[in-house]
Symmetry: C2
Subunit: 557 residues, 2 copies
C-alpha cells in the first residue's frame, strides 16, 4: 500500500503543493494558487495608504488562504486516500519576516495594527531597510566582528536584523508588542504543528547564526546598534532550533480539520526555497555540486570539510545536506546575457528568417552558433554584464568582447557569451579545487539545462566534466516531500534517514553531456586567455571598468 508525502513550495507570488509517492519520488498530484495580494509595494490594501519607496510586504492571510486551498486541492488532484499521507514539508522564501503575538497571531491581523505597514510581512526583497544594513555593517566593521568576513564583509538589507531594526526605529510600539519576529516558513510550520520552532537553515543563511561559533552575534554587538536591541535574540527569537531532515512537529487536530491531513503526520523542518535543489537533485557525496542554470546560475557544492574557500558566497554547515558543509557560489548573469544579445544583436535578414521559419531570434542565433567549430568566431568575452558575484565579488566590473572584426556575426557574439559563462563557471570550480574542496559530480537543472543542449555541451567541453541533467521541474516542492518522508521515519512508512529518502525519491538524471576531447583541447587554450583577462581586469591591474563606471555616474548626474 503506497504512502505519500506533500511538498509545499511558497515562492514570491504563489504557493504550490505536490503529492509525492514515497516509494519512488513520483509526483501523483499537485495544486497551485497565487497569493491574492501578491507583493504589496505601492499601497497598503487595508488603509489605502501609499507605501514609501523600496517596500515589499505581504499579508499572512494570503498564506493561510493558499494553504487551505492547495493541500486539499493537491490531495484531490492525486486521487489518493488522505490517510496515506505520512508527512508534509515546507520551503519558503527568506528572510520573509512576520511580527507575531505569543500565540503566533500576526500583529497585522489585529484591528489596532492593520493600518500599520510595519505590522505586515517584510518580504525577502523589502529593501527599505538598506540604511539599517549600512549602519549595521559599519558598526560590525568598526568592532571587528569576526563573522563579517564569512558573509563577504557585508550583511544584506534583505536579512533579518536590518528588518527588525527598521521596525524598532520606525514603529517601536510594534517592536514592543511583537512577542516574536519569525520567518514565514517557520510560522507556517507552526500553524501545522501548534509549536513554535526555528529552522536552522533560515537562521544560518539570513540571521548570522553560526553554529560553530556560539550561534547569533553577541548581546554587546546588538547593544552597539541600539541599546534596546541588546536582548533581541532572547526576547524576540527564542524557540527550539530544528535541523534539516528532522521533524519540526506533527499535524495537530486543528490543522487536520482545516486541511484534511491526518493528525500526527510528520511536519519536516522548513527550508529556504533557494536550498531545495541540493536535496531534490540529490547531493549525497563529498564533491557533489548542483548547478541551477537560468537568468543567473547558482552552484551548490557539498564538502566533508570546511575548507574556507575565498571568493564564494559562503560555507555553512548542514544547510544543504546534513552532515556536510554547503558551499554556495554563482554567476549573477547567465541567461540575461543571451537575452541581451537577442534583443540587441541580429540582422534584418535573421529577423526575416526567424519569422519565416516560425522560430525566435534567440533560437536562431543559438542554432547558428551551434553550427560553428570551437574557436572559429575568434572572439573572447568577459561575462560581467551584471558585475561578478564569484569569485571576484565585485559588482562594479562590466562586460567585454574582444576579437571583433568586420566579419563578426551576431551568432559569434552569442556563442562567445555562452562560452564566457562557462569559463566563469570553470573559474569557480578551479577555485574550489585550489582550496582543497573536491568537485566530483555536476547535476544541472533549471531552464537552460532542460532546454538548451548546445549550451550544456559547451559547459561539458569547457569544464571537461560530465554534466548530468535532471528533468525535475518541481524540484523545490519535491525537496519538502523528501524531507517529510525522512521526518515521518521508517516506522510510519517513510525512511530511517534523509540519505535513504534521497536515494529512493530523487529522480535519476535522464541526460548526460560528455566532454568531446578535441573541443576540450581548444577550450583549454581559450580558457587560459580568459583567465588572463579575468585577472587583468578583475584583480586591480587595470581598473578601467571602475573608471568608466565612475565617469558614467558623473555624466548622469
Amino acid at each position: 500500500m503506497s504512502k505519500y508525502t506533500i511538498g509545499i513550495d511558497y515562492g514570491t507570488l504563489s504557493g504550490r503543493a505536490v503529492v509525492i509517492d514515497v516509494a519512488n519520488g513520483n509526483q501523483v498530484g499537485d495544486c497551485v494558487m497565487d497569493y491574492p495580494h501578491a507583493v504589496i509595494s505601492e499601497v497598503l490594501p487595508a488603509s489605502g495608504a501609499k507605501l514609501p519607496a523600496d517596500y515589499a510586504l505581504q499579508d499572512p492571510h494570503d498564506y493561510l488562504e493558499v494553504l487551505g486551498h492547495i493541500i486539499p486541492g493537491a490531495i484531490k488532484n492525486a486521487g489518493i486516500n488522505a490517510s496515506d499521507i505520512i508527512g508534509v514539508g515546507i520551503d519558503f522564501t527568506c528572510c520573509t519576516l512576520i511580527p507575531v503575538r505569543a500565540d503566533g497571531t500576526p500583529l497585522c491581523f489585529e484591528e489596532k495594527y492593520k493600518n500599520d505597514p510595519h505590522a505586515y510581512v517584510k518580504l525577502w526583497k523589502h529593501h527599505a531597510s538598506q540604511s539599517y544594513a549600512d549602519r549595521l555593517n559599519d558598526i560590525a566593521s568598526e568592532r571587528g566582528e569576526a563573522w563579517l568576513d564569512r558573509f563577504g564583509g557585508k550583511i544584506s538589507c534583505e536579512w533579518m536584523f536590518p528588518k527588525i531594526w527598521q521596525v524598532l526605529e520606525e514603529a517601536p510600539e510594534i517592536y514592543n508588542d511583537a512577542a516574536y519576529f519569525i520567518e514565514a516558513g517557520d510560522w507556517l510550520t507552526w500553524q501545522l504543528t501548534g509549536v513554535q520552532t526555528r529552522g536552522y537553515a533560515y537562521a544560518a543563511c539570513k540571521a548570522i547564526y553560526i553554529i560553530d561559533e556560539g550561534g547569533y552575534p553577541t548581546e554587546d554587538f546588538f547593544a552597539a546598534l541600539d541599546e534596546r536591541l541588546r536582548h533581541v535574540v532572547k526576547d524576540k527569537l527564542d524557540a527550539p532550533m530544528v535541523f534539516t531532515g528532522e521533524a519540526a512537529g506533527y499535524v495537530t487536530q486543528k490543522a487536520s480539520e482545516w486541511l484534511g491531513l491526518p493528525v500526527g503526520a510528520a511536519v519536516a523542518c522548513p527550508m529556504p526555497d533557494a536550498h531545495t535543489a541540493a536535496m531534490s537533485l540529490g547531493l549525497v557525496n563529498d564533491g557533489d555540486m548542483c548547478a541551477i542554470m537560468g537568468t543567473s546560475s547558482c552552484y551548490m557544492l557539498i564538502s566533508e570539510k570546511d575548507n574556507s574557500v575565498p571568493g564564494i558566497c559562503g560555507t555553512l554547515r548542514d544547510t544543504l545536506t546534513p552532515g556536510f558543509f554547503g558551499n554556495e557560489a554563482g554567476l549573477c548573469c547567465v541567461g540575461d546575457h543571451f537575452a541581451w544579445v537577442k534583443d540587441n544583436i541580429f540582422t534584418q535578414e535573421y529577423l526575416k528568417e526567424a519569422n519565416e521559419r516560425g522560430t525566435s531570434v534567440l533560437k536562431l542565433l543559438i542554432e547558428k552558433a551551434a553550427a560553428q567549430k570551437v574557436g572559429q568566431h575568434g572572439l573572447l568575452a568577459l561575462n560581467w554584464f551584471n558585475g561578478n558575484r564569484n569569485i571576484l565579488v565585485d559588482s562594479t566590473l562590466s562586460g567585454m568582447i574582444l576579437g571583433l572584426t568586420l566579419r563578426t556575426k551576431p551568432e559569434d557574439i552569442m556563442r562567445a557569451l555562452i562560452e564566457a559563462t562557462a569559463f566563469g563557471t570553470r573559474v569557480i570550480i578551479e577555485n574550489f579545487r585550489a582550496h582543497n574542496a573536491y568537485v566530483g559530480k555536476i547535476i544541472a537543472a533549471g531552464g537552460i539545462a532542460r532546454k538548451d543542449p548546445f549550451t550544456m555541451q559547451v559547459y561539458a567541453d569547457i569544464l571537461n566534466m560530465d554534466i548530468n541533467v535532471s528533468d525535475s521541474s518541481q524540484a523545490p516542492a519535491l525537496a519538502g516531500a523528501i524531507q517529510a518522508a525522512a521526518a515521518a521515519g521508517e516506522q510510519n512508512g517513510g525512511y530511517a534517514t534523509l540519505r535513504s529518502a534521497m536515494d529512493a525519491m530523487v529522480g535519476k538524471c535522464d541526460k548526460v553531456y560528455h566532454p568531446i576531447p578535441e573541443n576540450v583541447e581548444v577550450y583549454n587554450k581559450l580558457y587560459a586567455e580568459y583567465v588572463r583577462l579575468h585577472d587583468y581586469f578583475g584583480r586591480g591591474e587595470n581598473n578601467v571598468m571602475k573608471t568608466l563606471r565612475d565617469i558614467s555616474a558623473q555624466a548622469e548626474k
Copy 2:
C-alpha cells in the same frame, strides 16, 4: 577676361574633367564618363579567354575614348571659349602600368598582342603579382637594402617592380618588345604633350625612387631578382623626371585637334590620385594636415623637416606640397565600423522607429548617440575591426568593446566606436608630435566630414583641436586644375608659383568645429584609458588577439 584650367581625374571606374576659374578656383563646368570596359578581371574581351585569379586589367583605348569625350564635354558644359584655357593637369590611380612601344603605343593595341593579358594595363589593384612581391621582399631583406625600412619593411604587390617582374617571367616577349613600362598618368600626359616624362610622385610612391638616396634601387639589386632585370631602369623607365607644380609639356597640334584645347597650353606634372587632397585642400604651412574621412581615413601632414616618424605609412619629399616632406598615415577602418554596427546592432523597436520616421537605422543610432553626455555610456572600444594601420602597423589586431552591461544600448556601442576612431586619430597625431613633427591645423574632407556633424564634434573634442571642414566635393580634379595654373605661369594668366595658385584657388573652409572644454576634460580621461589598452593589446604585452586569430584560422581549416 577670365582664364581657365582643366583638372582631369582618372579613377578606377571613370574619368572626370572639371573646368576651373583660375581667379578663384570656382568650378564652371564638368563632364564624366565611365570606362567602357571598366575593370577587366574575369575575361579578356578581345579573346574571350578567362583570366587567372587576382587579375585587374584595363584597356588604354578606354582612357583615350574617355578623354576625347570629357574634355570637349566639360568645355561645352562650362560655356567658355576654349582659347581661354591656359592649362590642364591630370591625376590618375597608380601604380597603373602600361607596356608601350618607343612611340608610346600600348602593346595591346597591336594585333600580335591583343590576346595577351600581359600586354594590357595592370591596374593598381592587380594582385596576381603577389608572389613576385614576396620574392622581392625576401631578397631585399636578405641583402639589407636600406630603403626597405622606409616602406614599413614591405613592398606591396601593387607597386611597379613586382608587376614588371611578372611580365618578364610570364611573358618575356612582351617584356622584350616593350620599350617602356609607364604609369598611366604619365602616358596620358604624353598623349597631350608628345613628349615622354615621368611624374616624380609616382616614382617616389610606387617605384622605390628615393630622391635623396640616388633614385631607384641599384642595378645589383635588380640583378639579384633576375639577371635580365639588371638594366630595367635604364632600359624601360628612362625619361625626364618632372616635379609637382612644374609643366610636363605643352598641348601639341595633334592633341589640340583631337580635344579642342589650345595649342601650347601647359600640361602639369601628373599626380597620384591619392595625393590630390593635399593640394585641393591647401596644405601650405608646416604642420598642416588633411583628414580624408570615409570608410577608412587618410591623414596627410606636411613638415619642413624629415623627422623619421615611426609607425606611419611613410615620409616622402615633395610628393604632397613641393618644398615639404609629406607624411602619410591613416586608420584602415572608420565608417566601416559604423556600418557594422547599423547592420548588426539595433533593436526591433529602433527598426520600427526608423521606418516610421523615414530615416535609416544608421542615422537613428547616431542621433540617439549624439543626445548623450560624454562618458555616459560607460564604454571604451578599440577601433581595430580591420587591424591597425598606424601607428602599430599590425593587421592581426582586432576590435574590442569594454564596459558592457545589461543596460548597454545599440547607440552606446555606435558612439563608443565613433569615439574609438577619434582616439586612434589622436594616437597618430601625438605620435607625430612626440617625434617633433608639428601638427597645427586640420582640414577635413570626405563623406563623414561633410555629412556627420556629431562625429566631427567628437573629433574636435577628443583631439582638442579645431577641425576645419572643406565642402569641396571635386577635390581630386581641382588639384589638377591648380597644378595646371602654376604650370601655365603668370605670363599666361596663371600663377608664378604653386603656392600662389593654391592661395587663390583652394576653397575656403565653410565650417569649423571647435572643441568644447567640458567635453575635452572628460575625453582626456577616457583617452588615457584608451592608450593603456592600445598599448596592452597592441604592443605585445598580451597577444590574445593574435592567439584568437590563430585558433580561428585553425578551426576554419
